[in-house]
């Protein structure tokens, strides 16, 4: 007997899926904003002349980039309570995403900073700008502009990676899908729909990031 697909079985659960989409979005937005900020700090530390801080950040970057996100998540959620740090599922998921994106964006933004011509910085120094001013106006803006596409891809990757947060019972989209298929036994249909939702979200996110990048870098560049 051939299998009969029944996508209608998902319809009664649409609110759960919507809740999942909302939570995945929340995770992504918080993770992206804080993660990229952390990455900016990290890149600054890497580029600074303090070797100890630079090395510590370097170790952090390598540790995160060479271990799976799932293991980082488990370590934070299951491991940290042993040190007395208890986090809720949502907090652990957000923290893992921040820490993960922080490491990747440190490396990406650093590449952008390294691509800033030295003459620009010297010119700023000759205008008597201090280090913070130079970093803010001369280094970070053009650097971010240059690496914005790479950073956008990384944010999308982190959004997609958040699907494993279902494993610590953070109630995002995959968790919702797992729950629904446990109720109606329509695993394939549910995961098919969830996959389509993820695809739509990643297309949308890429588009939003592109618009946001244009807004950040193009409009004010001639002011």
């Amino acid at each position: 007997m051939a299998y009969k697909f029944d996508f209608g079985a998902i319809v009664p659960h649409w609110e759960l899926l919507l809740d999942g989409v909302v939570l995945t979005t929340e995770l992504t937005v918080i993770g992206a904003v804080v993660g990229v900020s952390l990455g900016t700090l990290g890149a600054w530390a890497r580029a600074s002349r303090a070797p100890v801080i630079s090395q510590i950040v370097g170790i952090y970057v390598e540790l995160i980039r060479n271990t799976p996100f799932l293991v980082q998540l488990f370590f934070i959620f299951f491991g940290l309570p042993a040190l007395g740090v208890k986090l809720s599922e949502f907090q652990a998921a957000v923290l893992a995403m921040i820490v993960n994106l922080g490491a990747y964006s440190t490396e990406i933004i650093r590449a952008g900073i390294l691509a800033i011509p030295k003459g620009q910085i010297e010119a700023a120094q000759s205008l008597a700008m201090n280090r913070v001013q130079i970093f803010r106006y001369v280094i970070i803006r053009p650097a971010l502009k240059k690496i914005w596409p790479a950073l956008s891809s990384q944010i999308v990757i982190v959004m997609l990676g958040s699907s494993v947060c279902s494993q610590i019972a953070a109630e995002e989209l995959t968790f919702a899908a797992n729950y629904i298929q446990a109720v109606n036994f329509r695993a394939f249909e549910v995961y098919f729909v969830a996959t389509a939702l993820y695809l739509a979200m990643s297309v949308l996110l890429r588009w939003v990031l592109k618009i946001f990048g244009n807004f950040l870098f193009e409009r004010r560049s001639h002011v």
Binding site: Y3, E62, L63, R65, N66, T67, P68, F69, L70, V71, Q72, F74, F75, F78, G79, L80, P81, A82, L83, V156, L160, G161, S162, S163, V164, S166, Q167, T174, A177, Q181, A187, F188, Y191, F192, A194, T195, Y198, L199, S202, V203
Partner: protein, 217 residues
């Protein structure tokens, strides 16, 4: 109830790590072969095929690896093929890898100047000969560093296979944690093992990149 020493934990994790390595290697090799085939058909120039491969890449780069594994794991039984977690993980990761590799390699092939294609065509070479003797030997040289770099993503991707029940390093970590109640130690060890597999690959990729940049100058 038996007591777990640190050595017991490490030893059992090492046993499981073999499966991580095996799954990574299999997915990487098979994914490489599929990726190369996709590269061939998409550079051969049929616009419909090109669009199809483009969609394939978009699909795999725009959805979570976990969903891809779920679809394979729950989808194949529906068409009458019963799959074990091992087969599902291998198949899912192979498809995932092929999509990324074909995209990486496309960039490398496109970086070869159009003149090379024209020159070889003017020598009367057909598509296969052009690929075999002119384009691929040059493209592969550029392709090695990012390909090695991507292998790190494959190794890390295998961790997701634990969710569909394949017992590799991460799954073993969870199982040992459930027996020992020592998540900090166990997941710490798991992370260290992934690091020991991935970091040399990362370093090697960086080394190759540096070498290539040197040659290019």
């Amino acid at each position: 109830m038996s007591e777990f020493t640190l050595w017991d934990i490490v030893y059992n994790l090492l046993l499981a790590a073999r499966w991580t390595v095996l799954l990574s290697l299999t997915a990487f090799v098979l994914g490489g072969i599929v990726g190369l085939l996709l590269l061939m058909v998409r550079t051969a120039g049929n616009p419909w095929v090109m669009r199809l491969v483009r969609g394939y890449v978009e699909l795999f780069q725009g959805t979570p690896l976990l969903m891809q594994l779920f679809i394979v794991f729950f989808g194949l039984p529906l068409i009458g093929i019963d799959v074990s977690p091992w087969i599902a993980a291998m198949l899912g990761l192979t498809l995932f890898t092929s999509a990324f590799l074909t995209e990486i390699w496309r960039g490398c092939v496109e970086s070869i100047g159009l003149g090379q294609w024209e020159a070889s065509a003017s020598l009367g070479m057909n598509f296969r000969q052009q690929m075999r003797y002119i384009i691929l030997p040059q493209a592969l040289r550029i392709a090695v560093p990012p390909t090695v770099g991507f292998s790190v993503q494959v190794v890390k991707g295998t961790a997701v296979a634990s969710i569909i029940g394949f017992v590799e390093l991460t799954k073993a970590g969870t199982m040992i944690t459930n027996a020992t109640y020592a998540p900090f130690t166990v997941y710490g060890c798991v992370a260290v093992m992934y690091f020991l597999i991935c970091f040399p690959l990362s370093l090697y990729a960086r080394h190759l990149e540096g070498k290539l940049r040197h040659v290019a100058r």
